[in-house]
Symmetry: D2
Subunit: 326 residues, 4 copies
């Protein structure tokens, strides 16, 4: 992921000057630096933060290190791009948000789907009133393979619902224009039984109620064997939107009563344009002195829904967001 | 609906001899009889049931009359095809089932989606193991218009969830090969506010848990302005199935950056083949002495899920099916 | 084909009274009569034509018998529906047209695609000016199997171009609103070499020039192994239309990087609605005293294009229609 | 186009060191150099060719300058990537090929479609025998706008058939695995009448016969108002392939009986991946000492088909390729 964002930083964000790379593994840092013609490599990121001529940083670490690095970067006066999820707890989200606020820097969180051309166009159409009032949200995030067992642990990724659903929860708030007020989750460990051993599941459906009374449903799966499947529907009072598709390469192979196409292999292929666009937006936001398109508060709100949905699964009951937020 | 089934009875079920029509409205009965070349018209259906040379009846009345007519037909020794839903309460379902059992006749219930070529092919593939173990179910039933306010009343149609979701609940049991054990509903009256006055809603999402631990989600809407939208997905451990589409007429109209096709206008267009096939199956089942493809017990089970899902909506909590069934 | 049209005559054309069946094979006639509740069976079609209370006939014979039966029917004062192609030569077309004209009866020719909802909608949009001026026509007719060798002979079916292209040629005239002025054909016997032995080919492309200077291309193939593939595009000055699709059953089967759907199995499945509609139109035209939607002159014009295109193939040169027509 | 290839040279071809830019317009060259961090700018391309440490050049000039620059580059011992078409005449093609041969350098021509993932996958499947023997080729290249009148002149672009069809002609040879032996063209100036004033047309269909007896059809249009439409079908003896689609952004906007998606806006969007891949292939070919994927001979053969097809249009007769080639 770091390498992908570095690529887009180097090649798509023309206003940015890609100055330095830091990684705990010096070989990784060195390789990135060479690949993108970056002059400086810092084994310790504090050295990088100490440099006055660096304006902004892109943070791609394991989630549990986000807050520490965000706080250090903010303290050093750097603008911050940080991968999603900002943190797994609201306390950590708050700590990051507060550090950024106190330092007066800007922080953008990596919900790249907001920068995907299809999602962007959908948002524009909603804002233009093209579908009237949005009343139902339906979204799915499905991976064609299971994650590593280690990563599936609650303490690493937050577990299935947090790990995969957080994008849908962010889309829900953003596209529906209303906060989620209540969630209910059903889920199970049905295919990759090894995940149960670390307390995770592989399939879940989450019901949403929004503050404006709209409703929603999100499903997440680790066994979409066919391919990476990300789709969202918004049903409105005067029309609907459907975002996403299944086909990757525009080629049909046609045999006796069987017409076959491929599927989207993974998130890099599906969202390559979005990754480039979010980095470009970050750079332009800093250059122009604007505000981030995806804030720490957005990240906190999506995390809160993840926490509520996971609690709902654990306790077998609907969970009000206010229970999490208060 | 009666006229559609009469059409298929007359023209698609070659083993059947369409002998008589009964309707409270004699003009309707007369018109049907003339259209399909049927000799006899009975204003009172008891007269029709009293005839020895009638082997079977197709019952298409308002839901609240189903049980009475089923009981009379069973007592008269007629095999019975009855439109869905069999009844709105389990007590009524039980009364119908018991009447049929005691009379030793066959009863088939009109879940026509089970006879649609796409759903039939999906079921075959599942049974053949093509997608491995089915672990997630996702289905939607969306109408392009709202029903009449009168029909929307709980005592008429059962309300949105029962009225529209019952097909999905039947598909859930049939395609997943497991009973639903728990449901949770979110819903609201968001577009057609006049429905709220009779206690109904226009959009809902229902989470399902199955006895075999699989999960599911169903959404229903009365405001799919674009068209009649029926789709179902089954996510399996080794593959997935996706049933249904949006386009009705194979015509693309292409203007500047806008390629447009139509949508499916309504259930008659989407399921015409299925209506013919279910009547044909009913006739062939009687002719061959087989068993009905959709039984009273199936109807009862789908009604139970509807009742549970509606109770979940009313009470804001997950509802176990055993609570309804016991 | 006769059985299919009989079915639609019996069940879709409510103004028609299906009175009698004639077939050289009495068992076929008897079976049809029983199936559709028709009282009378005439081994000799002249007996049927001799009956005063018969208003109209539907003629489905081998092409080479069309003219004889049309002439007899016209002489008997019956309105005529005759399957396409009306005849393989212009002389025979003329004889049929003249017999009809002299008798003052109506004749409709079975170009059923004109009654298919997608083609009908396309025609309406063209007439409404939705795509501006139509400037290019592209169409294909592809079968998933080869015809019988016997039928492939020039003297039976007219050979590949006449047999399969004639529908496209009719669509070309009808949708483009201009006569074809010149054709050029390339073709070969490439897959089913046994067809070469009777002088036929299995694949061809035909270029069209229209009198209004528009251009077109038609391709026909007997080895569309995947399914029955009928598509047409009209490129206009202000938009385009694309008619037809590949998928038959709305079911996707999704495996690792392979999403598969079926194809349209054959012409009965693709054009069932059109067959019903053309018979209904014929009956309504007679009942209302209107004019046929597809005339003998239309049939003659399509045959002329077939003849020109076949001559072009034989002689390796572009052929002007006037050369055929004069 | 130069700027696009420069982008891919800079960012996708990691083995290449982007050393210098030359353009007659020094500002353009300067801007490119700055954008991609290139140190050197040469107003006169001969200065660039004179440098010993430059191994290869990418030539993107007007077509009529190609040969001169290719000859100079070859004489300077540089490997050459040159945009399509190599030249408008066979003499010029030959001159370029001969210069390259004598200099012992490698030349790759910019038929980028061969590097598009869908076309690449199609070629692989054909080579694997997935569709048996290829017997029919159908392809179209349609632009959503007309080119400039100046560019439309025969002496600039070669006219419609050469300008737009040359990609299809290259695909025809490559995918069918056989040379084209005969062509026939129909075309007209139907929408953009101003093109007629410089001797050009805006719509054409070209029939192809291949040496192995297969057949084909290509259509080209300048008024595909809806979008950039590039599709190709290969019909084989045991299956078929269909390459290309119409939708650009995976978003459906759904209103009353109208489901709309966008179209592909232009060649840069459709073939961005292919442009990157062809430059990468060129660089890797040089680095590895391999042979170019698209040779001068390929370019010459496609040009010959363009010339034959244009002559067919001018003279209203089928033209054998041997007439052009001898």
């Amino acid at each position: 992921m770091g390498s992908a964002l570095a690529y887009h930083l180097a090649y798509s964000a023309e206003q940015a000057d890609f100055a330095a790379v830091s990684d705990q593994n010096p070989q990784v840092a060195q390789a990135l630096a060479e690949r993108f013609g970056v002059a400086e490599v810092c084994p310790d990121y504090h050295d990088l933060l100490a440099q006055d001529d660096i304006d902004a940083v892109v943070i791609v670490t394991p989630t549990n290190a986000h807050v520490e690095v965000v706080k250090a970067a903010a303290a050093a006066g750097k603008h911050i791009f940080v991968e999603k999820p900002l943190a797994l707890t609201l306390q950590d989200c708050d700590a990051a948000i507060e550090a950024v606020r106190q330092a007066g820097v800007k922080m953008q969180v990596g919900f790249m789907r907001r920068f995907d051309p299809a999602y962007t166009a959908a948002k524009e159409k909603i804002d233009q009133g093209v579908i009237g009032q949005s009343v139902m949200f339906r979204s799915n995030s499905r991976d064609p393979w299971r994650t590593s067992v280690e990563y599936a642990r609650r303490e690493s990724s937050g577990g299935l619902i947090a790990d995969m659903g957080i994008h849908d929860f962010d889309l829900a708030r953003w596209l529906m224009g209303s906060e989620v007020s209540r969630v209910y989750s059903e889920g199970g460990c049905l295919v990759f039984l090894e995940l149960a051993e670390v307390g995770d599941i592989d399939n879940a459906v989450i019901s949403l109620q929004f503050e404006n009374s709209a409703v929603g449903t999100v499903d997440v799966s680790r066994n979409a064997i066919y391919g990476y499947d990300i789709r969202t529907e918004i049903i409105g009072s005067e029309g609907s939107l459907m975002i996403g598709g299944l086909q990757h390469t525009p080629l049909l192979v046609m045999h006796k009563n069987a017409i076959t196409h491929d599927a989207i292999p993974g998130f890099m292929q599906r969202f390559e344009t979005a990754y480039a666009a979010e980095i470009r937006a970050f750079v332009e936001m800093i250059a122009s002195g604007g505000e981030p398109a995806v804030t720490g508060e957005d990240a906190r709100a999506a995390t809160a829904i993840s926490i509520a949905a996971t609690r709902s699964l654990d306790e077998g009951r609907p969970v009000m967001l206010e229970e999490i937020l208060s």
